[in-house]
Symmetry: C2
Subunit: 218 residues, 2 copies
DNA sequence: CTCGGCCATTGACCTGGATCAATGTGCGGG
DNA sequence: CCCGCACATTGATCCAGGTCAATGGCCGAG
């Protein structure tokens, strides 16, 4: 998944350089090292901005397969810290690897650019989620994304998924507060869209009805 | 400004390929053409997402010097449309130019990536603005950015700037509505932060007091 | 098994910003 | 110069979501 869309030769060359790392839940994933690229092999992380003592924005969650490119280079520090929500396994590709392989395989650079622009795309989208959607719509959008990224379809068509982030994390991602998240989750339960066998695991009983709450075409 | 940070040889080579274009106010800037890069030479544009008949999010305004890279490639359309707020002069750099010059000057590719990641950075930041700030804070953040990008400092230290976008544009950028924008502008006037000789031109009388409303370190 | 702490849920109430409804106001066209 | 229209401001009221305050439930340590 690191190298989806790359010629297999380039992928093999890159993998020769790769190192791995394990990050405990709750621990920050260090992004600083110049030009290094990280790939999440497994686990979930959150990218967050701390505004002041009691305001935080989680700009996005990071799932297995996501690529973390170095923020902005040259001393200007990345605005977000990335913190593991569950234990994470990372694949680290040092700067020299990218440069070395990138010289021989232009697809590598191309893909790096693609990753960055699609990152911008999804942040633009999230701007609209947080700026213009109602609480139910925000939550539906989030659950849909979480389940498509990490869920499993059951034989009866329902989708099961883990919800390892706290309600507070969800709230800070969606620009809401904990209580509003909680209330709207129970509303979804009452309306038969969702089941929550435990607070940390969910089942989308009616994908169709959930989708109806998401105003994006997709 | 197109080529800030590039070796001058690369810049000169790129400029050989450059074409220009003029876009009327209110007209969409076509981004579609595969791989073409646009640079705003003068004017202001807005990048917007239309959610449905009556909800819109302006993800960002684009000022002179901004570089518009093609959204996401390969048929998957860019999520935002970009529309000129004032008449705009653009510089168009065709895909072949990037490829040609990029092959000889790796800095070109590097800079392209830098542009894309810093785009993501500023969208992440805006996510926090819209998700967590109060109306006053959002407006202050916006005015500060607008004035640093397009304003002129007067001899007495005040900063004058044009406000060519409508109140509705500002509202849709900040996740507010027109009336709230208007009310908070007059509040700023009353508190001596701001003057509005005309609705479409402003003067920041007290940069210091305005900054106090912006929770970002910067 | 029991205790304590943290997280989630629920309820009662409050409020910042939205909505609805008039006025202002500036500008382009005749 | 006047008119008309689009944009901006202002006021009155409303409400989605925030705040405050219990209560419940799960889990890990002992």
């Amino acid at each position: 998944m690191v190298c989806r869309g790359l010629p297999s030769i380039a992928a093999r060359e890159l993998s020769l350089w790769a190192r791995s790392a394990v990050i405990d839940a709750g621990t920050e994933i260090p992004l600083s090292t110049r030009g290094e690229v990280l790939v999440i092999v497994s686990g979930i992380a959150r990218a967050e901005i701390q505004l002041d003592a009691d305001r935080r924005q989680i700009t996005r969650f990071r799932y297995a397969g996501d690529v973390l490119q170095p923020g902005v280079v040259n001393g200007i520090s990345e605005i977000c810290r990335t913190i593991a929500v569950t234990p994470c396994i990372l694949c680290r590709i040092p700067r020299e690897a990218i440069e070395d392989v990138g010289q021989r395989h232009p697809k590598v650079r191309e893909r790096q650019l693609l990753i960055a622009t699609s990152e911008a795309q999804s942040l633009a989208r999230h701007t609209a989620v947080v700026g213009r959607l109602t609480a139910m719509e925000r939550l539906a959008t989030f659950l849909l994304e979480l389940s498509t990224r990490t869920g499993r379809e059951r034989s009866d068509g329902a989708i099961t998924f883990r919800l390892p982030m706290t309600r507070e994390d969800i709230a800070d991602h969606l620009g809401l507060n904990v209580e509003t998240v909680s209330r709207n989750l129970t509303r979804m339960k009452k309306e038969g869209l969702l089941e929550l066998p435990k607070p940390s695991s969910g089942i989308i009983s009616s994908l169709h009805d959930l989708r109806a709450w998401v105003p994006f075409a997709d």
